[in-house]
Structures are given as C-alpha cells and as structure tokens.
Amino acid sequence: MEHILLRHRDIAEFNTLNVYKKNDGFAAYKNAVTKMTPTEVTQVVKDSGLRGRGGAGFPTGMKWSFIDNKNWPHYIVANADESEPGTFKDREIMEGNPFQFLEGLAIACYAVGANVAYIYLRGEFWELAAFLDEKIAEMEKEGYLGDKLFGGEYSLRMYTHLGAGAYICGEETAMLESLEGKRGQPRVRPPFPPSYGLYGKPTVINNVETFANVPPILARGANWYKSLGTADSAGVKVFSLSGRVRKPGNYELPFGTTFRELIYTYGGGVQDSRSVKAIMPAGASSSLILVNDEKVLDTPMDYASVRTIGGDLGSASVIVIDDTVPIDWLVNKTVHFFNHESCGKCTPCREGTYWMSNITERIREGRGVAGDVDLLLNVAKQMQGKCLCALGEFSTMAVVTGIERFPEDFKKAVSKA
C-alpha cells in the first residue's frame, strides 16, 4: 500500500524541497491560503474525523475551532518533544518527510490565524532541529513562509526550539512554560491553551504526526480520509512497534488493524517464537494489556476497541512483552522512569512516584515483604485523580494493571524475600 505519512519510504529523496514539490507538495497549502477561508479549512479537518496523534486522541478540527477569536495574536506550537518510551514515529516523519509536517503546520496556522509557529523539540533532537531550520529556510526562500504569502495578506514564520531533557515538557502546558523560558512545569487547567496559551495568548498545540495528516486531507478531501480506518478512528496511524518482536519499527497502517497483524504480519513475530504475555499500547504510560487469550491479539487497534481490552491506544507505541518478562521487573522500570521524570510540582506525583519506586525496587531486589504489593497498589490508587497533570496519573497505570492482572508475578517476587 502507498504510504500517506511515511511517503519517503516510497519516493527517494522525499525530504528535499524539489522532490516534495514535484509530488504535489505545498499544493494543499497554497490552495488553502489563496482559495479557502480559515473556517473552511477547519471544517474540512473536522469532517475528516482526524484525531490528535499525541495520545489523547482529541478531535483536531474541534480543537482548532476552540481558539479564542476575541484575543490576539494566536500561536501554534508543534509538539515534537516525542519523549514517551517506545514512541519514535515523529522523528521518522520529521527526518524523512519534513515538508509534509511543515506544510500541515502551515495550513493549521492559516486555519487558526496564527502568524507564528513554534516547533518544540526534545533536547536530544538537536540535529533534527538544525535540519528543520534548513528546511524552514528553504521554505522561506521559496515563498512558502514569510510576509504576504502567495500575493495575499497572510504572513507566517516558524521557529524551532529545543527543550532541555525533560519528559514533562511533552505535556502541553509544561511545554508552553518551557517555551516561555520558565521551568518546564505544567500549568493548572483550566484555562486551556486555546484561550490562554503561549504568553497567555490563544494557542493550538498538536503533535507532529497530526500536522502531517493535514495536507493529504486537504488535497484529497475529508471523505477520502474518513474512508480509511474505522468509524471512531479515521485515517491511518504510524504504529511504533518495539519490545520482544523480530522487526521493531514504524508501521503506517489504517486504524483497525489488529495487534496480531502488527506483531506477526509486519513485526515478524515474537523473538525466539515465544508467546505474547502483555502489550503496552501507549509506551510507558500504558495499562498492561493481559494477553491470556489469543483472541486479545485479534483486537483492532482503534481508540474504542483497545478500551474494551483494558487499555488506551494513546500514541500507539506498541511494546510487546513476552513470557520471559517478569511483570514486577517491568513495573519497576516504568515507575523508575516516572520517578525520574516527575517535575516535582504537585505532591502526589512527586512523592508518590518516589514512594512507588522505593517499593517496586525492594520487591524486585527480593527485599519485599508480604504487605508491599498491597501497599504499592494502595499508593498508586491514592495518587489517581489527584495529580496536577497526566504524568502522575499515567505513572500508576502499569502499577495498578500490573498487580491486578499479573498477581502471580508479584507473589513470586515477594516470596523470594
């Protein structure tokens, strides 16, 4: 099948401006700016059923329409922080197909009336930031960015900004704080960014992959896009497959493709031909999906279906856990990550991740005692619903589902003591 997002896999040198242009590059953007009103652009995206690819799956067109038109200027920030363990799709899109992402970003800016867009990249992406800077400069030279574009009144500029190595800065309000030069810590919401965002101005924040979907939607129409995927999850998704599979990597597939197809047809099956024990469909922030029945693998990967097996599709970074992996070890790894990345702003997350990390560490090292598993579960549940942002909430997902769905692993770990 021809790729929609990972087009660089089909066309050589697709990350060069000439090749991109030759393949109808920027046509959708030019058409939008010269022939459509911002509201019409937003309507097409709304109609397409496109949902945010950063994890929450919020309808993109609706988010754009929330922007406060009584307060100006407007900003758009592209979330290129891509820090979720197991997620590596945005990087490939930006490296291989940068112009499609930038074109989508430009169209989005036009739709919400933003004249400035910031691309916030994680600090480790410094080479990528320099690469994007070159691409942006080329676009400026070609008249796709700058003042009075396509002979009209619309002006747009783009800037990249590097983070300093904090997972929390992928959270949209922490990203805004960081972009403003402050400590990267999440803000209290409401107010939400479409009314109070960057520098207190209305701001739309979308994921890189979300933007990359916009040019084909405008070029081929909302109905075409809706025909891909499922009723609840329209279009295609880049699935980042990792864990104990033979061929880890990014796979662009329509929503509704089953886990089995992803793991076996595309991922080449599980290493050493072992069986799948659990799946983390959304990186470290996932619930652990229990695969005790082969039928679980036949679940279609779309937002609604994944929920029926006790998980969330999130950013679709599918980590495959086989039967050699003790779940208490896995939980310890995820908790360790969140403890390390907790920003420290709110009490339950700062203290809770630290406490959970202590408990999982001693369970893992065989120092655990009988009450520890109950305590761990209790602490995790005590955090839920109380944290300032999603990081704290997500840190409990693997813990709670791990203990509830894989009790034997924890029993075994504690009995070693």
């Binding site: 929390i168 209290v188 420290g344 709110c346 700062r350 203290e351 991740t353 202590n358």
Partner: protein, 819 residues
C-alpha cells in the same frame, strides 16, 4: 462593590465577591479548607493538592442558559475527580463539599504523601507549635506512617540561603510560597527551585545570598520549618512567647509589629524580645515587614542602655537621683533664658514631643527638630489624610516618587507603590540616578542635580507626563532627600505641594504629599510644630542645650564642635552615645518596647504602641522626664498618663482633632484573615487586635485656605566645572545605632563608608573600583571605598549617610587616593 456570587459550602449558603477562589470563600465564612501552597496574597498554583474537595456545578440548559431543575432545586453535576479549592473560582449555584469521605480521603492522602519525605523532627523544629503541616497532620493526617523510616531522604539541614535565612531541605514541602512571594509581591526574584521531582530544592542565585530586604517574610509564610531566620532559629518555642502589639521605629512607614517576648536565661532571667513579627494592617504594611524592622531590634536590650540619671561632677559623670538631676537641668534651663535650646528627634512619641513643645512654648527657649530633611510644614497642609490607603490605589491613580530611593529608605512603601503600579497605577519616578523602583514606573525622569524642583514643577506642564499627573483621578507624591540637604528638600516639598494643590490633588483621600523621613516620628514632630534648622552648629554655639533622642556628636564633627562650645548640655536618651559622654546631665529614657505611646507615620497615620518588656533600671518615659524638669521650672505638665496627654494634643493641634486612644485602638475587618486559631492559612503573621490607627486631617481637608510657602531659591547646588559635588543618599542598613547593635546578624549587608563615582570621574581622579580614598569636605574628613556607577553624572559623588562620613547636604568634596 464588586459583583457577588452565592454558593453553598458544606450546606452553608454563602455570598462572596465574584472572582475569588473557593478556598478563600470558605475562609470568609469560617470553614477551613486545608492549604499549603495557596496563600491569599499570591496567585493560585494548585500544586500541593491539599485543598482537594468535591465541587458540583449547576447544570445549565444549553438552549436557554437557565439552570436545569430537579426536585425544585437546580440539578448539580459533580466532576468525577476531586478539584482544588485554591484554583477554582466561585460560581453562582456552586456546591462545595469539604467533609465528604471522598474529600477527606483526598486531604488525608496529600498529608501522607507530604510526610513520606518529611523528617518529622517537630521536637527540635522552630516551627513546632505554629506549623501548618503539624496542624494539618493532626487534623487530616494518618496516625501511622506506612513509609519505611530508613528510606527517608537525607538532605541538608542547615543550608544558608543568605546570611539571614537558613533552609532545612528535609522539611521543605516544595510549595513555592517563598519563591512566589519574592517573584510576585516583591519583584526580587533571587530564589528559585533547582532540579526536579523529589530532588527539587530551593536555591538562592544572588550575591550576597537571598539579596532582598524582604527575605524574613518568607519564614512567616513558609508552612513548615524549612525557612527560619538566623535570629530566631533555636532560640525559643512559639508557645513560650508572649505577644505585644508594637510599631516599628526604623522608618516613617509605621509597620504594625508584634514583639514576641519571654524570660531569657542568657539575660539572667529578664524578659526580652525574642523576635519581631508583622502584625496585620492592610492599610499600612499588610502582613509584611522589612528585614531591618525584623532584625535590627537588638539595641533595646543592649548593655549600653542607660539605667540611672547621671550628673557631671569634677569632670566625671556620676550617678544621681532623678530629683537632683532634673532640678539641675531645670535650673540651668531657667538661667539660660533665651539661650535655652531643645533638640528633639523623631525617635520620640507624639506625647513626648507634645510635652517638650509645651515646655518650649512656656519658656523663653527654642525647639528644633533634629533631622537632615526639611519640608514637613507642607505635609501638614496637603499631606495624606483620613481614608487614604495605598491598597486602594491602582488604575486612575498617579504616584510620583521624587528624590527618594524607597527600596532603601522605606521598603514597605516600595512594596506598596510597586503593587499599586502592578494594579495599574501610573508611577512616575523623578531622580538624578537609577533606583530600583524605575522598573515598575510608567515614566522615569532623570534630572540633573540641582533640577529637583524644576522636575516637579514640570509636572504641571502640558506634556505626556504632565497630563499623567494633572489628569489623574488621584495623585500622591512621595518626596525624599536623595542627594539633598535641608534646604533642598524643603524647596522640593514646596514645589510638590504646589503642583498637588494646583492640580486639585489635595484635601481628599488617596491624594497628597508624603515625606520619606529619616525617623519613625518625624511627621509627628512637624505636626506638633517643630522645625529643622539649617545652621544647627551655629545656632547651638554657646547655648544651654537639651538633647532628646539624638546623637549629634557621633553624627557630625561640626555639631560635636558646636556642643563643645555649649554652655550646658542635658542629654536624654535610651543608650550611651558619644553625645551622652560630653553631657553635663544624662537622663535615661525608656525604649519604645518598655512603654506606651503613639507615632505618626509619613502617611500621617497615628498608631499606638504598647509596653512589651520591663523597664531598664530607673529609666522613665521621655514625656515623664520632661514633665519632671518642667515642674522644677514652675511649669506644670502632665507626666503620668499618655492617654491624657494625647487628649491634650488632640485639643491643641488641629490635625489631631477628634482622635483619642480609644479611636486609635479600633480594628476594622481585614482580608485575608490571619493569625487566628486556624491552620496558618495566611502565615504566622499576627492578627491585629490592638488597633489600626487613624489618619490626621490636613489643612486642605479641613477646608482651610492653604497658603503654600514658596521657596524661591535654588533647591540644591549644581555640580560646578572642575569640582566634585558630594551628595548624600540613604542606605537601609547604615551604621546607625540600631543596625550596629544587630551587626553580627546583618554584617554582610552593612558594609562601610563608600563613595560612588562615575567611571570617568574616577579616572580623572586616578582611582579605581574598591580603592580606599580620603574624602574631605566642610570640616569632615574620612576614608571611603570607591564604587563605580555609570548611572550618575561625572561631576557628582554619592556618599551614603550614617556610614562613617558625616554628609548633611550637597557639598564640594576633595578625593585623594590613599597610599
């Protein structure tokens, strides 16, 4: 009045102003929602998660916008998660549940999380006994720890953030109240968090550490024992302390304070002041005090305190009786006739000054106010009057600050002016040099030295700045003596009073003139009728002098010389000074901590202070001593009751009319609510139970014809070609008595004599930054360290007052490098 909103909290229907948060609304009706990070003076952040409650909102019909009704009442929809009461604003029809099982579980969880890392060292913690975490743990916390004690973090217990504030990293709960106070309220962003997660810790990144004159306030609002002052740390337990209302005497702001006292073993079991705490007065200092007010109080318990009357016999001061000493003084005063001169300072209370004034009026002598600043008559005419409050100033008000560095001279006014500017007031700063307030101003005018009066007169011209002043609904001018002496500041005051009156900004609340005086009660002295004398040294020559509350001998070599030539010198003071050493009679006065009385602040607010500690030796209150002398002179003056004296003052001095001790003790409801038996929601500041004082009337408010004395002469000298004009400036921590007695604590803040020069001027003189030079002018000579400052003119040198070089007014100076 702002729009009101009605909501229900725990079944109680409450009506509160729109726009406030749920936690504050609950507090207003006596419901304590537990908080740590929330402080009613700070912007909400919702980070500690202590105030989690259930919040329900009425469901509105999408089409009509009306409430959806259910069983005759609006249908309420609750969010699935608990919400923070400190970030959610009140809404009409909102239902808040703070005591449900779900809410209680939320609060209990947060306390448990906070305690996992907390050391629980309450028995040795200074905050123990007045600690929000301790209180909230008792109220909401679990009884038993599930966290393994040995896994607790071990962090720094004594981390100095500066010389005054010490951080205990283990106790810190990362609520950021201190950081937010410094950033939002003060504007001295010198502390912040370092690192993240459980490693988050407060650091100071200024040099010297925690470089802010408001740092002590962070220890009041710290909800745990993480921030303590070096002064009070390990000194006493809060429950051992008595509390007495007082007024800070360090500057003319008149901050309301509480003196905490107890019997002190190191003082031989005497009752001493253990610490100075802010006392709430939202019209004066809110709930803050500056570090000078908080830390520079140790002089009152100094070993140099005078405790017995003394008279000079055979060239030596020997102990005497009160009767003999006052009789001797009285006899000499009578003998002196017209040569009797009295020198009073703003250290004295209104009652003391009134007594002295009556004595002067009924004798042939003259009274002088001992101050380096003039212009007080103008404040009696067009000064601030009843109903004025910086807190009410914002959009529509223009505040002019001229020739004053408020941050150094009157820090709480700096804070209040800055906050008024934050609220939208137009701030105009007129000064010959850069000051810290510039950054909050709408307009800065950098005048040349000598153009002070002109820069004020220009406010009445048709310019952008002129319009900002004349067209303002309300206008206030604060004038000081930065770079000026008595003549210069008097001229400036006259110019200020004139533009205020001409633009209709006199005679109504929140308008008028404020003098940034040297001492706490200079305003009172002016009101009672004392004036300053420009040529004091000449005037005192050969006379019989009665000096009360001043130390001219150490302040100024010219005055020292003049007093050597005096006929007879009687000194009445609280401490031994260079002036008591040359006195013929020494009369020991009680410190303000030992007696009662009133002071008049620069905003012309009369406020009461109360005795907190026992009297030192045989010392008497100043008014009683003066009255005793008077009686020997055949003049009967009230000498036993301050309130009777005050009533006399209220009937004799027009601006005091209608005031009484009872009136001054009145308390009005204040927000935020602080210091009650609560969970220390507003910090450990004290509630005001002893009175918020009352403002004087001004001639302009009484509808009298106001005739402003016009001072035509040049306000101040200008620097001349090939001459270095030394001008005085004021530093908060000077080498005056009160600061030096607390010198150990404030050592890295005080410093020594300095002279600030423009780099070009320094080059012309062949001197460099940090070099020791000899400075001489007008009979004064001394050493000073050179500081370079490229914001001042080349022909001018700045010399701080009371720092070792006795500068009274702008004067040509010679600077020689020290070999």
């Amino acid at each position: 009045m702002s729009k009101q909103v009605t909501l229900t909290i725990d079944g109680i229907q409450v009506t509160v102003p729109e726009g406030i948060v749920v936690a504050d609304a609950a507090k207003m009706v006596g419901i304590d929602i537990p908080v740590f990070c929330h402080h009613p003076k700070l912007e909400p952040v919702g980070m500690c998660r202590m105030c989690l409650v259930e919040i329900g909102r009425p469901v509105r019909d999408r089409a009509t916008g009306e409430f959806v009704m259910e069983n005759g009442a609006p249908k309420i929809q609750f969010m699935p998660k608990l919400e923070t009461a400190c970030t959610n604003k009140v809404e009409e029809g909102m239902v808040v549940l703070t005591q449900t099982e779900k809410s209680r579980e939320g609060q209990k969880s947060t306390v448990e999380f906070l305690l996992t890392s907390h050391p629980l060292d309450c028995p040795v913690c200074d905050k123990g006994g007045e600690c929000p975490l301790q209180n909230l743990t008792m109220a909401h916390g679990p009884g038993k720890s599930r966290f393994i004690y040995d896994e607790k973090l071990r962090l720094g217990k004594h981390v100095p953030l500066g010389n005054l504030i010490v951080l205990d990293q283990e106790r810190c709960i990362q609520c950021a109240r201190c950081i937010r106070f410094q950033n939002e309220i003060v504007g001295d962003a010198v502390i912040d968090f370092d690192d993240r997660g459980r490693g988050t810790k407060i650091v100071s990144f200024s040099d010297p550490g925690f470089d802010s004159v408001f740092s002590g306030n962070t220890t009041d609002i710290c909800p745990v024992g993480a921030l303590t002052t070096r002064d009070f740390r390990f000194e006493a337990r809060p429950w051992e302390l008595d509390a007495q209302a007082s007024i800070c005497t360090q500057c003319p702001v008149g901050c309301n304070t509480t003196l905490n006292t107890r019997r002190e073993p190191r003082a031989g079991g005497d009752i001493t002041v253990q610490r100075v705490m802010p006392r709430q007065n939202e019209e004066v200092n809110e709930i803050w005090i500056c570090d000078k007010g908080r830390f520079a109080y140790h002089y009152a318990e100094s070993k140099k305190r005078l405790s017995r009357p003394m008279i000079r016999e055979d060239g030596k001061l020997v102990n005497s009786s009160w009767d003999a000493a006052t009789k001797l003084a009285a006899d000499r005063f009578l003998e002196a006739k017209k040569d009797f001169a009295v020198l009073v300072s703003g250290r004295l209370s209104n009652e003391d000054l009134f007594t002295v004034k009556m004595l002067v009026d009924r004798s042939e002598g003259t009274g002088y106010l001992y101050s380096r600043m003039g212009g007080g008559e103008m404040t009696s005419l067009v000064g601030m009057s009843g109903g004025s409050n910086f807190a009410n100033m914002g959009r529509g008000t223009t505040i002019v600050v001229v020739a004053s560095d408020l941050y150094e001279e009157a820090p709480i006014w700096y804070l209040r002016v800055k906050q008024a500017a934050d609220r939208g007031a137009t701030l105009i700063v007129l000064n010959a040099r850069e000051t810290k307030l510039d950054r909050y101003s709408s307009y800065v005018v950098r005048y040349a030295y000598g153009d002070e009066m002109k820069s004020v007169q220009d406010l009445s011209r048709k310019t952008k700045i002129g319009d900002a002043f004349t067209q303002a609904e309300n206008a206030v001018i604060l004038f000081g003596s930065d770079g000026l002496g008595i003549a210069g500041s008097a001229g400036l005051a006259s110019a200020c009073a004139t533009v205020l009156q001409d633009s209709g900004h006199a005679g109504k609340p929140n308008n008028g003139l404020i003098g940034v005086w040297e001492r706490a009660n200079d305003q009172g002295a002016w009101e009672i009728g004392f004036k300053v004398e420009e040529n004091l040294a000449e005037v005192l020559q050969g006379r019989t002098v009665y000096i009360i509350g001043a130390d001219p001998v150490s302040d100024d070599p010219n005055l020292a010389k003049a007093l050597e030539g005096a006929a007879f010198v009687v000194v009445q003071d609280v401490m031994e000074t260079a002036t008591t050493e040359i006195a013929d009679v020494v009369l020991p006065a009680q410190a303000f901590t030992e007696r009662d009385g009133t002071f008049t602040s620069g905003e012309r607010r009369v406020q009461r202070f109360y005795p907190a500690v026992p009297v030192t030796g045989e010392a008497k209150p100043d008014y009683a001593i003066t009255s005793q002398i008077a009686s020997h002179m055949g003049v009967t003056l009230e000498g036993t009751s301050v309130s009777v004296l005050f009533d006399g003052l209220a009937t004799s001095v027009k601006s005091f009319e209608g005031l009484s001790y009872a009136r001054l003790a009145e308390v009005r409801p204040q927000w935020p609510i602080v210091g009650r038996g609560d969970m220390y929601y507003g910090g450990t500041t004290y509630e005001n139970k002893h009175g918020m004082g009352a403002q004087l009337s001004a001639a302009a408010t009484r509808g009298e014809t106001v005739d402003i004395p016009q001072i035509d002469k040049e306000a101040a000298p200008r620097p001349k070609e090939k001459e270095l004009l030394a001008v005085p400036i004021t530093r908060l921590y000077d080498r005056g008595t009160t600061v030096m007695m607390s010198a150990d604590l404030l050592r890295d803040r005080i410093g020594g004599a300095t002279i600030a020069l423009h780099p070009d001027a320094a080059q012309n003189l062949g001197v460099e930054e940090g070099q020791l030079v000899n400075v001489s002018f007008d009979g004064v000579s001394g050493d000073a360290v050179v500081k370079l400052d490229d914001t001042i003119p080349v022909g001018v040198a700045l010399i701080p007052r009371s720092m070792g070089l006795a500068i009274r007014e702008p004067v040509p100076a010679n600077v020689r490098p020290q070999r």
